[in-house]
Symmetry: C2
Subunit: 613 residues, 2 copies
């Protein structure tokens, strides 16, 4: 029987120092690196706070010595003993407690550990699936624990910060209304109302707008959100969002509060002073210069438009591109000419193909306005000279050119820019570049659905100047009749994103606060009156009872924590992540349930033969 | 078109005072009590922070005067103007801003409000269903807003408190494994794994135990939990739980940390100094004295055992009760003899019947060891004398007696005690009585299932002294063979509850941290090996890799917020509550979904004709 009652912890395994010499202490923890040496047993006892060396001798613990000799790694112990100096040669300066050790006088074994299923503390990498199955053991890795502690600090700083700024924390429902807003809902069948379903919220968007209508003025929540999407890349079916909404804000009010938060997070978590305000860049400029709406500004490369150099060109690729109202764009790379081997240039072409991009042409600039490369001979001296002028290129610089439809060229060079950043090691991993992208288009054309859809979400307010035009339209097709030069994607909105090092960390907008405009937007998006009343009727009604102007933002907390922890994957900052098949390998969920449960819910399983795994 | 850009808020509606006289200010808010008086329009503009009187005059705003005359209540406005003194006779001392008013120079109407669907700020009660439908409007009630603000403060204090005490905030999954732990799970069909389901967690119990196995030492979370139960009384299908777990704790360690939290909450939220440590009372004593495991100690009445007075009685009811090993218990009521009319005594009998309780006998104590009441004549002088001695009763006191099986008598008098507390106004509503109930039984007999079930949950550790006995049993039935005097309900556990004013606010336990004991408990609860491995296999396996002793508690945050807000119902501290049918009347969820969605999930709807509402 354990008698740990007599052994009340006095210190953690991370805190004993020379000042504690001679103290009688009680420590709890896990045993690691158990060695028999000179007739004594040395054990490193570790806990979340650190590691302390224990020494067990037969003189001190008598008959229990044989037991302790044979304990297994990660056995849990309570020990009491005396803090003493280590012999000079045994001092470990790498270890905060490395100048002392505890001479154990008594101990209790709480639980013997079987041989661990994964190696811990040995720097041996573990397959993802094995890691996910054994998360509670994996979390004994110092770095994994530190990541969760960091995430906890992020939570606390955020809670405190918004509280100090008079925001009200409100919990919104998890059992919500199914109103697909783009992504697929997770559904929850109702037992009391068979045939009806709740949905897990994709975001608390409508709830937070309603809280503004309720007069709460400033709202925040750390909210669980859910999307039933195929988990390409680094996504989770449930994720954590910092959700903010304010009444009567300008975008700048939102930017200011969020910048203050990041300033504090970066300072308190990793000791970095961020300069505020962050850079603002409108969507158009970001697409123009970086071919993306989430530029990584650590990467110094920019895209420039060099069409002007080729207005009279006879080089057919460029000539055709311009004839079809396309563009010719360039990226200039300095100091890396030697990297542009035949093989590397081929890899760029392959890369472009893989993203269905436009062709990449590589030119090397030489002395005296000359250029070298497969197409050099097709270009006139004036063209090369003008190109050098437009790109401000010098001898030995590399120019990567691409011609074609503007959107394709931007996408291609945007992607090539990222590849170059990695391949040529142009990105300083220790830098943080935060910026706001503003004035997103209200609508974008969906290639998959062959129609105009909303870029942010349907509650986003257009910029004031477009409201009169929008109110006149019965459909987006009518736009070209009224303003032939304008595409729906030219209508700017009050939507904005925040980007850190090329990650879209969050996005928000000023919302529509008038029913007639909101209905018009639904109509222009092709929703029938019946459809939008069914989905958004409650919000539309409430807009008529004194809704204030309002707006906000939602930030991905998993990604923010991962960035601060310098981890590539959000899974490293989540305690129990799912795998790419949306399974928890630890407890094997999702799993089967009983027929009685399904019967109560009024549902039955169909066609589960073809996909079940 | 609005030009609110020029009107940037300088103050809230709650902050202007005499010190601000002469300032030009901009306020945002909702209009209420719009009066035309002496050729001017007076409007109270309110926001979450307070109310300020606005004065609109034709001199100042010119042609816009006619517009403002006709605005509707709860129209949203931005106004700019000059802070000035109110005339002496117009000063309103009830209103923090009551000595000033704002002479409006310009304004913008953000949104005209239609006539409100429910009365706000008028003290008119609203039917629950109507309130739930119009929550965002109802939340404009000052008290409703204050309740949410209070809840937000509770969150912040808790976050801060546990952070200061080195607890790590960890989010555990909402998409969890179906493992019914008593209540019914909400299920979420998996699209990727048709035929399989996630469950929404009833509590993060297993996750937090795994976090202790991971070495996190101290964990906390404000967690959403879910139970698909019929919503008797004041329950919600989703609720918020403060979830705590610690490694190597004694129950007193848990008590201490929670007491510190309550001390801070009560002090910072309602200015009350709680004395710590709170009272501890074991389960047995609570049942003995109060007939309940959640006694409201504001109520001064106690139950006492008076069986001893009637050991030789000839009064058949008492005699029979004692013969069948039952008891005779009493409650003494002082200073209220006049309330015990025939009619009131009848109402007590009716009450007892309604809870399937035992009979209530009322005696009035007179001078000289005499008693009055329908049974008085059946009792001997010695019996009455002994009864008076045992209850320490004086002349004019009332004794309520009940005889029968102990559990029924305790339940009856426990319930009668509550009724008396209310009826006789014995409970001081401004007092707070917090206490710990300890040493709950490990097992209780379920009358509905006709078998022994766990009292707390199956992970609860028995008290040390019972472990050897338990390990010897193959079933609970064997207990009577080994220890004939002992019932399974006599086995004490390391489970505890915290009770405030008769509400069970939370409960917890020290957990089992060894696989063999945990398997034994599952076995004694009647689970087959296959069954417990399927449900709890992951936890059982992990117990073998160095699980430390651990324990914790979960507290109902909705109830805590309601108590601090002095609200009877938790719905008053929830922004978007469901009704008793688990519906959100605001957005009409749960609701129907498309056949395509169901097909993707691999489910279909059956028998929805008989229950759908």
């Amino acid at each position: 029987m354990e008698n740990k009652n007599k052994l009340k912890r006095t210190h953690t395994c991370g805190e004993l120092r020379e000042k504690d010499l001679g103290k009688n202490v009680v420590l709890y923890g896990w045993a690691e690196s158990i060695r028999l040496h000179g007739g004594m047993v040395f054990v490193n006892l570790f806990d979340r706070y650190g590691t302390t060396q224990l020494v067990f001798s037969r003189e001190a613990i008598g008959s229990k010595f044989d037991e302790i000799k044979s304990i297994t790694p990660h056995t849990t112990l309570c020990v009491s003993g005396l803090v003493r100096n280590r012999p000079e040669e045994a001092i470990n300066k790498e270890m905060p407690t490395g100048s002392i050790e505890v001479d154990v006088e008594d101990y209790v074994i709480n639980n013997i550990a079987k041989p661990l299923p994964i190696p811990i503390g040995k720097g041996i990498p573990v397959y993802d699936d094995v890691k996910l199955k054994w998360m509670p053991i994996y979390l004994r890795e110092r770095k994994a624990q530190q990541n969760l502690i960091l995430r906890s600090k992020v939570f606390n700083i955020i809670m405190q910060y918004f509280h100090e700024h008079d925001f009200i924390y409100v919990e919104t429902p998890i059992l919500a209304k199914p109103t697909p807003e783009g992504a697929r809902d997770f559904l929850v069948p109702s037992r009391i109302h068979n045939g009806k379903f709740y949905a897990l919220p994709q975001s608390p968007q409508q709830y937070k707008q309603k809280l503004m209508i309720a007069g709460l003025d400033k709202y925040y929540q750390i909210a669980k959100c859910f999307r039933d999407e195929d988990l390409r890349a680094d996504r989770q079916p449930e994720f954590t969002q910092l959700d903010i909404e304010m009444s009567w804000p300008e975008p700048e009010d939102i930017f200011e509060i969020i910048e203050g938060m990041f300033k504090r997070l970066f300072k308190e978590i990793i000791g970095i002073d961020l300069k505020t305000p962050f850079r603002r860049m409108n969507y158009e400029e970001a697409m123009e210069l970086y071919g993306t709406d989430k530029p990584d500004l650590r990467n110094p490369l920019k895209i420039s438009d060099v069409s002007k150099a080729f207005e009279k060109t006879e080089f057919s690729i460029f000539k055709d591109a311009l004839k079809e109202k396309g563009v010719i764009n360039a990226i200039k790379v300095s100091n890396n000419a030697e990297r542009f081997t035949r093989k590397y240039i081929d890899s760029l072409a392959t890369h472009s193909k893989s993203i269905k991009g436009s062709g990449i042409i590589v030119l090397k600039i030489k002395e005296n306005n000359a250029a070298e490369g497969s197409i050099a001979k097709h270009l006139s001296e004036e063209e090369i000279s003008e190109l050098i002028k437009l790109t401000n290129a010098s001898s030995n610089d590399i120019l990567l050119l691409s011609a074609g439809k503007k959107s394709i060229v931007k996408k291609t060079l945007g992607s090539v820019r990222l590849k170059l950043g990695t391949d040529l090691n142009l990105v300083d991993k220790d830098r943080f570049e935060l910026l706001w992208i503003t004035e997103f288009p209200l609508f974008e054309f969906s290639e998959t659905e062959h129609r105009w859809v909303y870029e942010h979400h349907p509650f986003t307010s257009p910029e004031e100047e477009y409201m009169p035009i929008l109110m006149k339209l019965n459909s987006l097709d009518e736009l070209k009749e009224i303003l032939p030069e304008m595409l729906p994607s030219d209508i700017k909105s009050k939507a904005y994103d925040i980007v850190i090092n090329g990650w879209e960390i969050g996005g928000g907008s000023i919302r529509i606060h008038k029913r007639e405009l909101q209905e018009k937007i639904f109509e222009l998006l092709g929703l029938s009156r019946e459809e939008y009343l069914e989905k958004f009727g409650s919000l539309l009604e409430l807009l008529e009872y004194g809704a204030p102007p309002h707006g906000g933002i939602a930030l991905g907390l998993d990604r923010i924590a991962a960035i601060l922890a310098k981890e590539e994957s959000i899974r490293e900052v989540i305690a129990f992540p799912k795998n790419k098949e949306a399974q928890c390998l630890m407890d094997d969920s999702p799993s089967e349930v009983s027929q009685e449960q399904l019967k109560e819910l009024g549902i039955s399983i169909i066609n589960n033969q073809n996909k079940s795994k």
